[in-house]
């Protein structure tokens, strides 16, 4: 196969776009893990459920509970509405899935998140049915062509929004009191409580923040994926792998891991074999863990241990 710079550029953009989504969802995993010490297996449903809510309000006609509804609200308004609703969802998730079980060890909480994940997927099928649904994009055109290069504006939007969110994340954690309280809670909840941090509130905020990251991922990727009840699970699986490659618990690790998996699977599919692209990604994952069991950026986890 000959080297084709145009194809490589397209692969890079596509890989970075999907990697960005993995990174955002991986961040959600890591933030909750740092705050409460458990993996949230409903993270994928934080991507799927808001996407369904968005299409419900966006489309001229959609079947909900077997009845056709016609909302068709403006797209930006719908995005804001969904974000507000997902703040409530994050709080509710914290209150129902985590809070009652917080003193019973990690296992009941993990099982609780798995239960919520299954419930939300079944609920989505019951409410919206099994048909894949197309979410409208912000853009009037599907593709921008620059000479032989064909780029989807949605890919560029995903990369851009992710970059902004990552910058915001670093500002939040490094420059604000809230961010410092979140970091303090992540490092040692008991000590954080002793110095006056309201740990329960910080945990609730972390769940909300994580739900919002999932929501933004869903709104960004749905125009490319179509909305189905499985869409979140597929992303979450890769995002979970990404957070392990990066070093579970590490925020830079989640970002780098997500981007790396996105780019590797796209280039691996092109240069090696698309049939074995998942195997390639997981061979890399295992190789990284053999060399660095704590992941690429895993020092903070080691310190915690």
């Amino acid at each position: 196969m000959h080297f084709d710079p145009v194809a490589n550029m397209q692969l890079l953009v596509s890989g970075l776009a999907f990697g960005s989504i993995y990174a955002l969802v991986a961040l959600g995993f890591v933030l909750i893990y740092n705050a409460v010490g458990v993996v949230n297996f409903a993270q994928g449903e934080f991507v799927m459920f808001p996407s369904y809510i968005a299409v419900t309000f966006l489309l001229p006609a959609i079947t909900v509970f077997g009845t056709v509804v016609h909302w068709q609200l403006p797209i930006v308004g719908v995005y804001l509405l969904v974000l507000v609703l997902m703040v409530g969802f994050g709080l509710l998730f914290n209150r129902i899935a985590y809070h009652p079980l917080r003193d019973r060890g990690w296992m009941p909480v993990v099982i609780s998140t798995i239960g919520v994940s299954i419930f939300l997927r079944n609920a989505a099928q019951m409410i919206w049915g099994s048909q894949p649904i197309v979410m409208p994009s912000l853009f009037a055109v599907d593709t921008i062509s620059v000479g032989p290069l064909h780029i989807r504006p949605q890919d560029l939007l995903i990369i851009g929004v992710t970059a902004v969110l990552i910058a915001f994340q670093f500002f939040l954690f490094e420059r604000t009191t809230l961010g410092k309280q979140m970091r303090a809670t992540a490092q040692d909840r008991a000590t954080a409580r002793l110095v006056g941090v309201r740990v329960g509130r910080i945990v609730a905020i972390t769940f909300v923040y994580s739900a919002l990251l999932g929501t933004i991922s869903g709104l960004l990727v749905a125009p490319l994926f179509t909305v189905t009840k499985e869409m979140g699970a597929l992303i979450a699986l890769k995002a979970f792998a990404a957070s392990i490659v990066g070093g579970f618990g590490s925020i830079p690790g989640a970002i780098v891991g997500g981007l790396a998996i996105g780019v590797i699977e796209t280039f691996g599919g092109f240069y090696i074999s698309s049939a074995y692209v998942d195997a390639i990604a997981f061979i890399i994952l295992i190789s990284v863990l053999l060399v660095r069991p704590q992941g690429l950026f895993g020092e903070r986890v080691a310190e915690k241990a």
Binding site: H2, T143, F267, V277
Partner: protein, 385 residues
């Protein structure tokens, strides 16, 4: 009344006597239903296909039960449904559960990979197995009583290839297919058909299960500079996403696809990205019999949406009606007798066309090539196996 030994004996004696003289006539007023097993994928990523199968079966049963001329011995049909979900293991578990439910025939899931996984269990039970799975191998598994109610991948693959080479004058053919049994089996049929024409594909790309980004596969095909691309994919959602990406990556050559390209859902989801594409399908609206017209009308009246006739609801509807006709004709539901009757089916009119059983249990021997013109499928030609 106190229930002592004397009262107990008197009561049970009276009940026994009543049962012996009169009750059976009263109880027997409700004839025993004919229990028909179905195993659609009701949950998981193929739930759409499962829902379509469920709808086809439910409509057929509702209609048959309302028509005394269709019901054998006044016995209504009753569907016993188990969820095959999305994996082979679940399909086998569902099958085992169903076999304990006293069913007289089973409508299998449409996914060939699940049909093949269920085969070892199916071989041990001599009842009619009605399948819509199109992998050639499905009717060669040594399962007694296996009947296929759709055109096999052999017919579809050969039809697609001949159309691409002879009608579209393709000299460089590329293949894109799913990595499941359906996709791999279909791609193999295309490769074999190309070989018969003295050709080889310039690219043969498969994508992994649950993939959502097809950039790598499409760019590899683009690099091979084909003049026609043949797609063999089962999942309507995958089909729609691939067509969108083919369009956005400017792979501007004729696309000829397997039946999923003509699937109603795939056409709706892909929208204008599917315009101009060709597909080999079991069914095209407007080019069929009175049976098909009746099915379309009844389906829309019941469900308020158009059916995915070929891959989804039509073949299941046909399967239930074919069984009902067979029971009525042979005056019984004995599974072995039914298998023998089904093997003798000739020129039976169903939604998907005229059915005649061959030695392997294939009932359909032709497919149509259609073209998506502004969201509607138009007949281009019929191809036979």
């Amino acid at each position: 009344m106190r229930l002592d030994r004397k009262n107990f004996l008197a009561t049970t004696g009276a009940v026994a006597a009543g049962a012996a003289i009169g009750f059976p006539a009263i109880v027997g007023a409700a004839p025993e239903p004919i229990r028909l097993g179905t195993i659609p994928c009701l949950t998981g990523s193929n739930a759409l296909l499962g829902q379509q199968e469920h709808e086809g079966a439910a409509l057929a049963v509702e209609e048959i039960n309302a028509r005394p001329d269709k019901v054998y011995g006044g016995r209504p049909f009753e569907i016993v449904e188990e969820d095959a979900t999305n994996d082979n293991q679940s399909a086998v578990s569902a099958l085992n559960k169903l076999l304990g439910e006293n069913v007289v025939a089973i409508v299998c899931p449409v996914l060939s990979t699940q049909v093949q996984a269920m085969a070892p269990v199916m071989k041990t039970h001599e009842i009619p197995w009605m399948t819509g799975g199109t992998a050639v191998k499905n009717t060669q598994l040594g399962v007694p009583g296996m009947f296929r109610l759709r055109g096999s991948d052999g017919i579809t693959g050969a039809g697609m290839t001949n159309f691409a080479v002879k009608d579209k004058k393709g000299k460089k053919i590329a293949i894109l297919h799913a990595s499941d049994a359906f996709g791999v089996g279909g791609a193999d049929q295309i490769v074999q058909s190309l070989k018969k024409l003295g050709m080889e594909p310039v690219a043969n790309e498969q994508y992994p299960k649950d993939a959502k980004d097809f950039t790598a596969e499409i760019l590899k095909i683009k690099q091979a500079a084909p003049d026609v691309v043949l797609m063999y994919i089962q999942n309507p959602s995958d089909t729609a996403i691939i067509l969108k990406q083919v369009h956005s990556l400017a792979l501007n050559v004729p696309i000829v696809g397997s039946p999923s390209l003509g699937n109603q859902t795939a056409m709706e989801v892909a929208g204008k990205d599917a315009y101009g594409t060709y597909c080999a399908v079991d069914f095209i609206v407007g080019f069929n019999s009175n049976v098909a017209t009746h099915f379309l009308t009844s389906f829309f009246r019941k469900y308020h949406h158009l059916p995915d006739v070929g891959t989804g609801s039509g073949w299941v509807y046909d399967a239930v009606y074919m069984l009902a006709d067979t029971y009525k004709k042979q005056k019984g539901t004995d599974p072995k007798q039914t298998i023998a009757s089904l093997k003798g089916i000739k020129n039976w009119d169903g939604v998907l066309g005229t059915f005649s059983a061959d030695a392997e249990g294939n009932m359909v021997h032709s497919v149509s090539i259609g073209q998506n013109q502004d969201g509607k499928l138009h007949l281009v030609k019929k191809v036979s196996g």
